[in-house]
């Protein structure tokens, strides 16, 4: 189980391949891999977004991301879990977050992946500030939807 916070742009697909090949214990164990990648859009709440700054509270962020990941690994029978989250300056099309789960079967892989992405959104201390044509604005949390 690994949680990483990155200040610079990353390629989630390369990171997943690299992580998996670095885990020899996984070989032959998993039959399912689920991946969620969140990417910065170029529009939000009716405005064109030119850039976004993601502020966070280190090391509270790591602590809560690790807790969410541990919960998922205790609740579902999974083999491994990788969470990568950006902070700092992002541009549209930059990946923001990546969650990958390896498990014997798909049900646990899907459920654990969904749990991690849903929970980190409400529990990890990140704040988004968008740069639009009208200047910088802090993004308000969205009402809870499923």
């Amino acid at each position: 189980m690994t949680v990483r916070l990155l200040a610079a742009a990353f390629d989630p697909w390369q990171e997943i391949v690299r992580y998996q090949s670095g885990q020899p214990d996984l070989t032959g164990k998993f039959g399912a891999t689920t991946v969620f990648v969140g990417t910065l859009r170029d529009f939000n709440q009716g405005s064109a977004v030119q850039a976004m700054t993601l502020e966070h509270y280190a090391p509270m962020t790591e602590k809560h991301l690790e807790r969410v990941a541990r919960e998922a690994s205790e609740r579902w029978p999974i083999d491994d879990l990788l969470v990568i989250h950006r902070y700092g300056e992002l541009r549209p099309n930059d990946p923001i977050v990546c969650v990958a789960v390896w498990a014997a079967h798909r049900e646990a892989a899907f459920a654990a992946c969904r749990h991690v992405i849903d929970e980190l959104k409400t529990r990890a201390p990140f704040w988004k500030q968008e740069l639009t044509g009208e200047g910088r604005r802090w993004v308000a949390p969205e009402p809870k939807t499923k």
Partner: protein, 78 residues
């Protein structure tokens, strides 16, 4: 005998400070820390953490603690 206080995002901008050290004398809980730092009552819509765990306004605060105030979080994917 001190408490480290940290502010994030719009709270940091509004107060014009990211961090300060306050005297722990007379400080009993999270709401007291805010009052000492911001000179106002703690707004309902702010979140707080003590030693990096989410905390309620009435949670006790002790000498050496790190207390943080911030708006609701907006992390994860859009």
């Amino acid at each position: 005998m001190s408490i480290t206080v940290r502010f994030f995002a719009s709270v940091r901008e509004r107060l014009g400070k990211a961090q300060e050290i306050i005297d722990s004398a007379g400080i009993n809980n999270v709401a007291d820390v805010w009052k000492q730092s911001a000179r106002t009552a703690l707004p309902d819509n702010l979140l707080a953490a003590v030693n990096m765990e989410y905390a309620r306004p009435d949670q006790p605060v002790r000498d050496g603690d790190e207390v943080a105030f911030f708006p609701p979080v907006t992390g994860g994917a859009p």
